[in-house]
């Protein structure tokens, strides 16, 4: 039986844990920054709490890394050294160089590296991808993607707001759609980006705009917001081809609308998350797919190179926003 350990017990750690519990894998335990033998998430899953990363690695076949982004690469390299398969939250790393180090380490060790670009497992995004692949709208010309919510909060040490840890809105939030745009329209040649906090470092909210030119000629326009009133979370896309258009708007297609007076004081989640009602949570769909790759070798919808390329695009966006220039991407040889 496949043994899994999760590093990190924030919202992603919890979502992945729920996913693993829907597979035949054995969720052995968790590791968190501060050791807590009574970690509620571990108790909920009847799992142990480890004291160190190495202790966890020794007890598992797969490590699922849900830590702040700046910690990803070195953990992946260490796991590869120990010949453990890796599932890693997006972004794979904060820089192309670090991501490359992680990808190479896994390749050399012969272990799987599964980057959790969960958007590919959301049914609306997956359906649009298959429609495009079927030729429903012809050749893709322009792609518009929006992902908007409020600034992530954390009870302590909000690493999301520390760009040296999360990469900020371009790297942390908008990488979702950068990966999706590349999935739809292919390799990216040029990146141009702006974000509020580059212009106004003290801003209490952030909003990024990014335009990608794909080698295919297609243009992608990305908008990412940490600017809306909680608990807003909305996504939109519009894929226009020379033979049609596909449109998604999470708000216009929400199947439940509440006009209830004084709703019970629902706590706002730390991080805005999509929530259209589905029989299976897309995080679970993703983890189930990863499980099949791990045990049966089924090809994964997300390859290590996909995770790497997304980091390269996001890193270029960060640089473009800082320098005010268009950044041209070179193909990376892994």
């Amino acid at each position: 039986m496949l043994r899994v350990g999760i590093v990190g017990a924030g919202s992603m750690g919890a979502a992945h844990a729920a996913g693993w519990s829907q597979t035949p894998a054995h969720l052995v335990g968790f590791l968190t920054e501060t050791f807590d033998p009574n970690l509620p998430l571990a108790q909920r899953h009847g799992a142990t709490v480890f004291r160190s990363f190495d202790e966890l690695l020794d007890a598992v076949d797969v490590v699922d890394i849900c830590t702040p982004t700046h910690l990803h690469a070195s953990m992946i390299v260490r796991a590869a050294e120990k010949r453990k398969h890796v599932v890693c939250e997006k972004p794979l790393a904060l820089s192309t160089q670090e991501a490359l180090r992680a990808v190479r380490a896994c390749r050399e060790a012969g272990v799987h590296l599964l980057v959790a670009h969960v958007v590919r497992y959301f049914p609306e995004y997956a359906l649009a991808k298959s429609l495009v692949d079927e030729g429903a709208i012809g050749r893709v010309a322009t792609l518009r993607l929006l992902r908007g919510s409020y600034r992530p909060r954390k009870p302590v040490g909000n690493w999301f707001l520390d760009e040296s840890k999360s990469g900020g809105i371009l790297m942390d939030l908008m990488i979702h759609d950068m990966d999706y745009a590349r999935w739809i329209a292919g390799e990216v040649a040029t990146v141009f980006a702006r974000k509020i906090t580059s212009v106004r470092p003290d801003s209490a909210l952030d909003y990024g705009l990014v335009v990608l030119q794909h080698r295919s000629g297609a243009i992608t326009h990305l908008a990412g917001a940490w600017a809306y009133p909680p608990p807003t979370f909305r996504t939109q896309f519009e894929i226009s081809g020379d033979c049609g258009v596909i449109i998604h708007d999470s708000q216009a297609t929400a199947p439940i609308e509440s006009l209830i007076l004084r709703p019970a004081g629902n706590a706002v989640p730390e991080v805005g998350l999509p929530s259209s009602p589905l029989a299976e949570d897309p995080y679970t769909t993703e983890i189930k797919a990863f499980y099949h790759t791990l045990v049966e070798g089924a090809p994964s919808r997300v390859t290590p190179e996909d995770g790497l390329a997304a980091v390269q695009i996001a890193e270029a966006a960060v640089r473009s926003a800082a320098e005010g220039k268009a950044i041209h991407l070179e193909p990376i040889s892994v």
Binding site: P123, E124, A126, L127, A128, L131, A136, I137, G138, C243, G244, V245, I246, I247, H248, T253, A254, P255, I256, E257, S258, L259, I260, L261, R262, P263, A264, S276, P277, L278, A279, E280
Partner: protein, 332 residues
Amino acid sequence: MKVKIGILSFAHLHAEAYVTALRAIPEVDLIGFADDDAQRGERFASQFELRRFPSYEALLEQKPHGVIVCSENSRHAPLVNMAAQAGVHVLCEKPLATTVRDAEAMVAQCRKAGVHLMTAFPMRFSTPLEVVKARLDSGELGDVHCFNASNQGELPKKHREWFVDKTLAGGGAIMDHTVHLVDVMRWYLGCEAAEVYAVANRIFHADEVEVETGGIVWVTFENGVFATIDCSWSRPPYWPSWGGLSFEMVTSRGAVLVDAFKQNLTVFSHTLQRPQWAFWGSDPNQAMLSDFVRAIAEDRPPRVSGEDGLRAVEVVEAAYRALELGQPVRLR
């Protein structure tokens, strides 16, 4: 254990979706189907590469664990009764029957035979509707006061001619589009319909069909909750989907708007030259079939019963009576 399932008749178009859905369930052994319409039978046997039995009896002789009845509405009763006599569990397409008498007999036969009779009410398995049911049960939404509901659709004739044949379908839009929402309301309220009123007309497709094509059915429940159901075949053929099912539920704390089929992409394509909705929400038919199969495997009743189907047929029959009388009809 593999659960052996057969399909009785492909008269209802849902049979096609059920084949795909059944094949996606690992524990199912889909043994084949039978159809009294030879031409239709041949077409679907070849389309789905599915074994076709020469008769319903021949299929039942294979001792499937369960069958799905997809015949014309008025022909549900004989097939359900045949399956019950063979000791086979039944999932029957909605409406369960075209008359209360038939529906009662079917429920009684299955009970006597000790087989489950499940009515195909997939809305009980619609994720958005389940979420709202859970919120309602938690008390978060207050007490329900009324429903403003709608199950409009296109003229079903384009799929199957018999849908607009009064003898085979049992009626028109009211027969076709009332039962889903009646069942949802009974499920939400845990309470039975007490009174029914209805109005109808035949303006849509007046030159094509002889049954009612437009209508509103009123239902008042024993607890005083009242509801309207728009069952009209009012969607034109170039609507972005077949139709939909939605309702506003007004409670003591406000209102909740629910649309079971709103999770769509809008797709404009040169091929069609108009927008179409591509559904990406979770498939309620799949979940309904899984429940039927698991109920058999686990030897427990399915989440929807034959009685649920019967109760909805009672409302439909009362609606037609109210149409004649021009006044509400009391059920109980």
